[in-house]
Symmetry: C2
Subunit: 348 residues, 2 copies
Amino acid sequence: MVTIRDVAKESGFSSTTVSIVLNNAPLARYIPAATKKRIERAAEKLGYRPNQFARSLRSKRSHTVGVMVFDMTDPFCTLILRGIENTLYQASYLPILTDVHNEGSRFERYLEMLLDRRIEALIVVANWVFLDINLLADLEKSSIPTAMIGCELKTDSISSVIVDNEVGGHLALEHLHALGHRKIAIIRGPKALVDSSPRWRGIRNFAKEADLELDARLIVDMPESSDPISSFESGYKLTEELLRQKRSFTAMLAFDDMSAFGAIRALSRAGIRVPDQCSVIGFDDVATSAIYTPSLTTVRQPMETMGASAVGVVLDGINAVLEKREPTPSHRKVAPELVVRESTRRLV
Amino acid sequence: MVTIRDVAKESGFSSTTVSIVLNNAPLARYIPAATKKRIERAAEKLGYRPNQFARSLRSKRSHTVGVMVFDMTDPFCTLILRGIENTLYQASYLPILTDVHNEGSRFERYLEMLLDRRIEALIVVANWVFLDINLLADLEKSSIPTAMIGCELKTDSISSVIVDNEVGGHLALEHLHALGHRKIAIIRGPKALVDSSPRWRGIRNFAKEADLELDARLIVDMPESSDPISSFESGYKLTEELLRQKRSFTAMLAFDDMSAFGAIRALSRAGIRVPDQCSVIGFDDVATSAIYTPSLTTVRQPMETMGASAVGVVLDGINAVLEKREPTPSHRKVAPELVVRESTRRLV
DNA sequence: TCCCGAAGTTCGATTTAAATG
DNA sequence: GCATTTAAATCGAACTTCGGG
């Protein structure tokens, strides 16, 4: 391995000078162009690459950000990860990816490993998670800039980026209502899930504004569960149950895209065509939604943007720490967007 | 930050002894249990965590593996990443995740960054990629254990884990044939894609074995393209085109799941019900396949296993290097598996 | 005082060589 | 020579201090 001393020898200067030149440190102002050129040429010739371990040991910086995902297989993650990756890339940071599989023990072990690696910030993708108090305590005392995506904390010290669920719920019902639907079945999310209640609030608010009466017999709740597949299954079973009870409805507002897919399958099995005989709207806009048959009308969470935004937040935090300012956690709520596709249709 | 010297002071021994004890180094044999206990207690009391930078600088090890994905948004990646992550976790390695967005320049920059971090091995998830010769050269000279998933190289120095495409193609056609289908439309993959030709070979082989004549007018080719969405669109357009030409077929064998979804949409738009009037089979078994309506019959690539296998390969490589043995690259070909769901049906 | 460059110290752990009784 | 412990060198880069012109 070629070290800075080799470059020093090759160029005829000391390692100090080489360091100053190659890092373009403040002192480089004083160094004549000729010297710089000779050093740069020597470095190039030898193919010198600074040893990051040594550099990090001295500077106490890793240029690394930890990314903790609660469940990689959740389709919600993919675009968020893309947004995170892309923004980190531009800032020359590298992400260490960990997947806690929704297990507390794994969370703790990974957090410890990441902290040992001196990550400069942490981003947690807390999709579909029933938060554990202990984990939060761990996060808080980690004392590095931290941002959570998809889940707001009471804890003020941790930043968060979430979608405005209330606006989203409002948007979804508004869309169905505008298409003329009045008998609307609604699948609400699991009680313990943080998204469930604001989303429901948005729905109720719109109903009140539009003077639309929601039929309690058409409102069902998803059971507690912890993964996307069970969300799909819940959507399927709940819809099947509604159909068995001969409830009549012309549209279905599902908690998320996965449960919407479940609903579509149940309707389709029962011989009810979507959207001809029943409209279905989801929430999230996962990758599958655009390629489903029929393609799914849904309320999009701008996931790539959310990932990018979380990186922005923690990068600010890192800079604050570097400049010895107090890092100010920010809580961002991004606007969802209605994406109209084939699964909803005007009531005729 | 508490250092080894703090522990030394607290325990009353030198930092040398502390290091020996806490790492359970060979010399620890000679150290009396009482000493060990005092040191361990001191370390615990102070909450000592060794500085990984210093450790790595000395040991020249990072306990980190680079993971390069060519396109994160490809649904093919998700489970592979899960397999990689899970296996690394068990071995106490951490992955640095990079996504090259199918761009050569990004590949080069990331490769450099990863090498600078002294990753101990590299895993490349080369889904859906038209390989560039230059990139391979870069990989070869990197001289760390490297494994490619999804794409075999002529280069013998780089390990690979791929699915047996020939067996898979064989399996797919065999399934349709067993259901009584004889007029079978086939969507072949893009020529430049490495998977295309072996998969087609498997199809042809089965046809020969079963004395089944493939109608050339029912065989279409996907154009060159570089992402999963265009695969979906190709499937859609090619099927639409076949229908417009009034070709008659009772089953469709798509190149992959994405093109199968496109085909299903085209059939469905044309009023042809799947599987009642036309069976469709895909390849891959991405997450969407199980939740599609109808759920998709497909040839599964055991993606999680492939990820785990790639980790196994490079971990062997790392050990070989450590023990100064010659690392032997291995080329694994895993067996695909037919997954029968709703989208195929016996011809009546 | 300004410019240029070098010697020496530091970061924190591991390891070699050596010193005790 | 044996069991036990440690001083000192090392890894590679960055920064502080200093000296000569």
